[in-house]
């Protein structure tokens, strides 16, 4: 017997609202604990290392090649049309505002977000989360808050790192393929971007950090059905985080840089 379409729409809408409500409640409770300074400092440093420091190499690779590809696409033609002085600005502009924060977030969502969901999911199916509750300990304070604080610290750091590496990669490639000297390239960076571009990019990175951790933790904590459930939670964490990062990136670009779009 086929399912009633209205019933299906209703059920899926309810599930979506439950999910959004669950993530919001998790975020609210975590924020409340952070505001009351109920933070496990040593565990936060540990998570900063696991989630942030251990992600630096993949952030380095992705941002360096992205900076290089922007430079590759723009440098030769820019020189041909006499706009060589704009290449550095184009690379820096794109990195500070969009590619630095977003690419770092996507890469971290794939690596650290998945790791969070898998770890917490495994803890659910091996009763470790229930054990925390049985000991009178809050899983949110013990597990979610340290990861959230760690990511709020490390995501902007990784983004700055990605910005720098992307620009350096772009500068090297522009020099190699279009013979744009480094002085011209970095002069263009200084003339066409300012600190506010980078700072507004960092605002994005804070929001992305919250998305990655809350989705990863929520997916992990709602894991059911044994080992297969851990896989489902992990995949869901990456997919949902990346979709939300893209949507949020658009909205934040509109809000943060909106006034510059109209000229």
């Amino acid at each position: 017997m086929s399912a009633n379409p209205l019933e299906t729409v209703g059920r899926e809408t309810t599930e979506l609202l439950e999910y959004v409500g669950g993530v919001a409640a998790l975020g609210g409770e975590s924020a409340s604990m952070i505001a009351r300074l109920r933070i496990r400092v040593a565990e936060t440093f540990n998570q900063a290392y696991l989630l942030g420091v251990q992600s630096w190499s993949i952030v380095l690779l992705t941002s360096m090649f992205t900076g290089m590809v922007i430079s590759l696409e723009s440098a030769v033609q820019a020189v041909q049309y006499g706009f060589a002085t704009l290449v550095g600005g184009a690379v820096a502009f794109g990195s500070f505002r969009e590619l630095g924060p977003m690419l770092s977030a996507v890469v971290v969502a794939g690596r650290a977000g998945a790791a969070i969901a898998a770890e917490l999911g495994s803890m659910v199916i091996t009763e470790q989360i229930e054990a925390l509750e049985a000991l009178g300990l809050s899983p949110i304070r013990m597990l979610v808050v340290p990861r959230l604080v760690a990511m709020l610290i490390m995501m902007p750091v990784l983004t700055i790192f990605a910005d720098i590496v992307s620009i350096l990669g772009g500068a090297w490639l522009a020099n190699q393929v279009a013979h744009i000297d480094y002085e011209t390239f970095f002069l263009s960076v200084r003339q066409n971007t300012d600190m506010s571009d980078m700072l507004r990019g960092l605002v994005k990175s804070f929001v992305f950090a919250i998305i990655i951790v809350l989705i990863g933790c929520y997916q992990g904590l709602r894991t059911r059905q044994g080992a297969a459930g851990v896989g489902i939670s992990t995949t869901g964490s990456v997919v949902i985080s990346i979709i939300l990062i893209f949507i949020t990136n658009f909205l934040l670009s509109y809000v943060l840089f909106g006034q510059t779009f109209g000229g």
Binding site: T126, E127, A131, A134, G136, L137
Partner: protein, 253 residues
Amino acid sequence: MADRPLIARLDDITLAYGERVVLQNMSLDIVEGAITCIVGLSGAGKSTILRLLNGLRKATSGRVIVKGQDLSQLSENELIDLRRSIGFSFQFAALFDSMTVYENVALPLRENTTLGEEEIRHRIMDALETVGLTGSETKFPAELSGGMVKRVGFARAIITNPDLVLYDEPTTGSDPIITHLLTDTIIRLRSKLGGTAVVVSHDLQSIFMMADYVAMLFEGAIIAYGELDKVRSSPNPIVQQFLQGSEVGPIPI
């Protein structure tokens, strides 16, 4: 009904997950200072009873009274305080993989008390000695055998000196020697702490070794309850079939 003081009482409990009824109008007394073993078939809802006793599950109807407090009337913070006064040993120990044996056992003391590290260390070494695991402090759970993991779980459950300890299938999956060791450990811990233990199990040898009281759960209700000898001599054919481990009888297989 027991005629000795009670530490907990489950009163007319019904618990259902959607359409599936796990417990139906079930009542059970937990006598203070005794070891009460809850027996029954796999999946009968025995572990659920332990989770009702420390408030990890809420009954659909009925009352759970623990240490004079009706759990349904407690706030979340009061419930957390109550849980901290009850030890819980999980079926597969539920040790935290990323922590050493020492850190696992220390966790409730570090997070729930204001004890100094020296006192914590003293208590942990004492607890590990009691469960026969001196020298294992720096090992991680993955480095331990199944029996050792369970004994670390015991140590963590009793580290705060709770007056009520709940053991969920403590001997399941263990060989006869380890089963004897684990059962003997539970008896020694109860003697040392002087408190109450509730043990969920379907390991008859273990139950006969340690139980003061036995309750048999069948189809969501307690069908036999009393001191060990009384339950062993119960005329109920379901109880007799279970105790004899026979395939023949009224229990559907």
